[in-house]
């Protein structure tokens, strides 16, 4: 159907131009990000409702979160967004090595985020600040303190799962880069991974003030 020349290997048979394929991927990815926003949207909605119901509880309970660690994680993720963007830029310029090192840095920062999150979580587990019926901590004033921690663990937990998914995808991109799958002409998958990673970052930028900085 398609002429043999002018149909590069990265172009799927049902597209006629690279442009068309790239635009389709972009539409698909943005729609997917939209579904992610809505997935979190349900939890943001639950957060808003319970914070409106129990404003004092949220205020008291949030002081048990470690703002220093939260802020560190925010910086870590924002930096990782930068290295991700640099990885894409490097491939646009055909600089494979720079792409590899920036992807490695992104992975490292994502890993750092998870390690810090692990420290925070284990501290809370230790104190009995667990979701729902497993909640045993007694130091928070106000009724139903487990609600705050239920929502905290659900939202940061779901975010953490997204960080892990992002790391897997970035690792896959790293592998494909080393295998010379990409070039200055074709780097759509890295670009799409970047979009996803920025969203993961963005969600954290909302989570951080909503949980750690309740004024």
């Amino acid at each position: 159907m398609s002429n043999a020349e002018g149909h590069p290997t990265h172009l799927a048979h049902h597209f006629s131009t690279t442009e068309q394929q790239k635009d389709s991927a972009k539409i698909g990815m943005w729609l997917f990000l939209l579904t992610e926003v809505l997935l979190f949207g349900g939890l943001f909605c639950a957060y808003a409702i319970f914070r409106a119901w129990y404003p004092d509880l949220f205020h008291n309970a949030h002081s048990f979160l470690d703002t220093g660690l939260g802020a560190t994680n925010t910086v870590v993720l924002i930096t990782s967004s930068l290295t991700m963007a640099l990885a894409i830029r490097a491939m646009q310029l055909g600089n494979k090595n720079a792409t590899i090192w920036n992807l490695v840095a992104t992975l490292g920062l994502a890993g750092t985020f998870l390690v810090i999150k692990y420290i925070e979580y284990s501290h809370k587990f230790h104190l009995g600040q667990l979701p729902g019926k497993y909640y045993t901590f007694t130091g928070v004033e106000g009724g139903n303190p487990h609600i705050f921690f239920s929502i905290y663990f659900m939202m940061t937990g779901l975010h953490g799962i997204h960080v892990i998914a992002g790391m897997i995808t970035i690792g896959w991109m790293l592998y494909r880069t080393t295998k010379n799958h990409f070039s200055a002409e074709y780097y759509t998958p890295i670009e799409m991974t970047g979009l996803y990673w920025h969203l993961v970052d963005l969600i954290w930028i909302f989570l951080f003030p909503l949980f750690y900085l309740i004024g």
């Binding site: 048979h13 539409i27 729609l31 579904t35 909605c45 639950a46 139903n144």
Partner: protein, 539 residues
């Protein structure tokens, strides 16, 4: 690539692997069709067993507990495993790229992944049946769903996975419609079925994630008791209802919008006339998609939500009636002075007009707060949503199935048997559900395995209707299966329709068309294009 050879998408590759690993949208469509037929059979048999139990007020064949599980399974299977994927994922998958003149959907691998998610979700649903089955009704309302001994988690996981299957199909279709239209096919030269799928896909993408997070919360509530739906722990069970209906009201439009698209195609083709009010129909699909997000509270008039909220939801619900009404008037106007041929798809389309109008208008009654308080949780509701979901979507699905069947297989079913079965389904359906409107108005509550003596006659009537309905479907199964192997062969365009899928061979070749497609005429330009197809493929 050569033209007019005997190879087509069905016989080009052989063996089960060539099906299970295919990325061809047509084969994936056929695999979806197999899946949904299986679950329609399961859901249908459950319905017949339910009607058997309800034939008399006494306990006939099952305990109350078993009955609760049966109607839950009937609802959940029919909605999540049959109706939602029926038109978009099965027929839409097959037809959409053909209608656009494209070689495939935008993301063929994702398309196959959607099918596998469907299968995995279905396996969870089946597992829930053997591990005790849920007895909550398909709505999974808390706090009952978090405390019952029924197997809620398995089916909730199934629903979560099925949701993502549906999201990926919607995402794929939106990208396909945006990027893979044949040169010359501007937005307002697209067939109306494509508009229907587009509006559907928007809802799938925007609403389904909320269902996803809702069932995740339900699972967590049940497994680790997080407390946000539990009033004893400071949570709110009504919040679950809000979340659930934020998805599930738009979901009814996921079910009906593609059906409306089919009706537009069938009525235009079999009236052989330019569709009346093309833009009005296209925009009303988008209007319905938009409005569908603003009315979920009409399911919750008796939940304790504020009166003001109820009034606003009621008011907005009346508004949704407008775009649906616009469509019905346009279809009728299309038929007016058309050259109507009463082939089987058209018979289904006319059935649709009658049944959907009844279903839609009774929906307006239910949107009125005072009437709804009286009719809430009665058989009136049951009848109403069966008129829209079955009388609407399923009948439209059957219209589409009979319309595109010759394209799927290159062969056609026996017309006489198809007419007989269509009439049986129409009559059986009305006997089954008209009686339920009356019972409901008289106060017969839904979801009970027994009832007061005075309802026996109407319940009996309804049960007999379900048997007629079942027999109609049995006949359909036989003649459709027969036609795949023995049906009369047909050419490219047996109905002299003007949309692009009819320019492909029947059945199409693997890459759909034997040339690069360019739009030569609009999808409904019957007045411009003369009957140039009559020499080939006439029935």
């Amino acid at each position: 690539m050569s033209t007019a050879t005997a190879t087509n998408y069905l016989n080009e590759a052989k063996g089960w692997k060539s099906w299970l690993l295919t990325q061809d949208h047509k084969r994936i469509g056929i695999m979806y069709l197999a899946g949904i037929f299986f679950f329609f059979l399961v859901g249908g048999l459950l319905a017949l067993i339910i009607r058997w139990e309800l034939f008399t007020p006494a306990k006939d064949i099952m305990e109350a507990d078993t009955y609760n599980r049966f109607f839950t399974l009937h609802g959940a299977i029919m909605i999540f495993l049959f109706i939602i994927p029926s038109i978009p994922a099965a027929l839409g998958n097959f037809v959409l790229p053909l209608m656009l003149g494209a070689k495939d959907v935008a993301f063929p691998r994702l398309n196959l992944a959607s099918w596998y998610l469907y299968v995995i979700g279905a396996l969870f649903a089946l597992y829930s049946i053997i591990s005790g089955a849920a007895d909550t009704g398909w709505t999974f309302y808390t706090p009952y769903s978090t405390s019952t001994s029924g197997s809620v988690v398995a089916i909730a996981v199934g629903v979560f996975i099925l949701g993502f299957s549906s999201i990926f199909t919607g995402l794929n279709f939106i990208a396909t419609i945006h990027k893979l239209r044949a040169p010359g096919m501007t937005w307002f030269k697209m067939p109306l079925f494509v508009w229907g799928l587009y509006a559907t896909a928007i809802i799938q993408v925007l609403a389904t994630p909320v269902l996803g997070i809702t069932v995740v919360l339900l699972i967590l509530e049940r497994m680790v008791h997080i407390g946000i739906f539990d009033p004893a722990m400071g949570g709110d069970p009504v919040l679950f209802q809000h979340f659930f209906w934020f998805y599930s009201h738009p979901a009814v439009y996921i079910m009906i919008l593609p059906g409306m698209g089919i009706i537009s195609e069938v009525i235009a083709t079999f009236s052989h006339k330019r569709i009346f009010g093309y833009k009005a129909i296209a925009y009303s699909s988008l209007g319905i998609a938009f409005m569908s997000f603003l009315v979920w509270g009409h399911h919750m008039f008796v939940s304790g939500q504020s009166e003001l909220a109820s009034l606003i939801f009621s008011f907005l619900t009346f508004f949704v009636g407008i775009p649906s009404g616009i469509k019905v008037f346009n279809w009728v106007a299309t038929m007016y002075k058309g050259q109507i041929s009463l082939k089987v798809p058209m018979l289904y389309a006319i059935s649709f007009l009658i049944l959907f109008s009844i279903g839609g208008l009774t929906g307006i009654f239910l949107g009125a707060v005072s009437v709804d308080v009286h009719l809430h949780d009665t058989y009136f509701i049951v009848a109403h949503f069966h008129y829209t979901m079955m009388g609407g979507t399923v009948i439209a699905f059957l219209a589409g199935l009979h319309f595109w069947w010759p394209k799927l297989w290159g062969r056609i079913y026996n017309e006489t048997w198809a007419v007989v079965s269509c009439l049986m389904i129409f009559i059986g359906f009305n006997v089954t559900f008209l009686s339920q409107f009356i019972m409901g108005a008289q106060g017969m509550p839904r979801r009970y395995y027994t009832y007061p003596e005075e309802f026996q006659r109407l319940h009996g009537f309804s049960s007999v209707g379900s048997l007629i309905l079942g027999a109609g479907f049995l006949i359909m199964t036989i003649y459709l299966l027969h036609s795949i192997f023995r049906g009369k062969k047909v050419g490219r365009n047996p109905w002299q329709s003007l949309t692009m899928e009819w320019e492909a061979e029947s059945p199409p070749i693997t890459h759909n068309f034997d040339k690069d497609m360019v739009l030569e005429h609009g999808p409904y330009d019957y007045d411009i294009v003369d009957a140039k197809y009559t020499e080939e493929g006439t029935l």
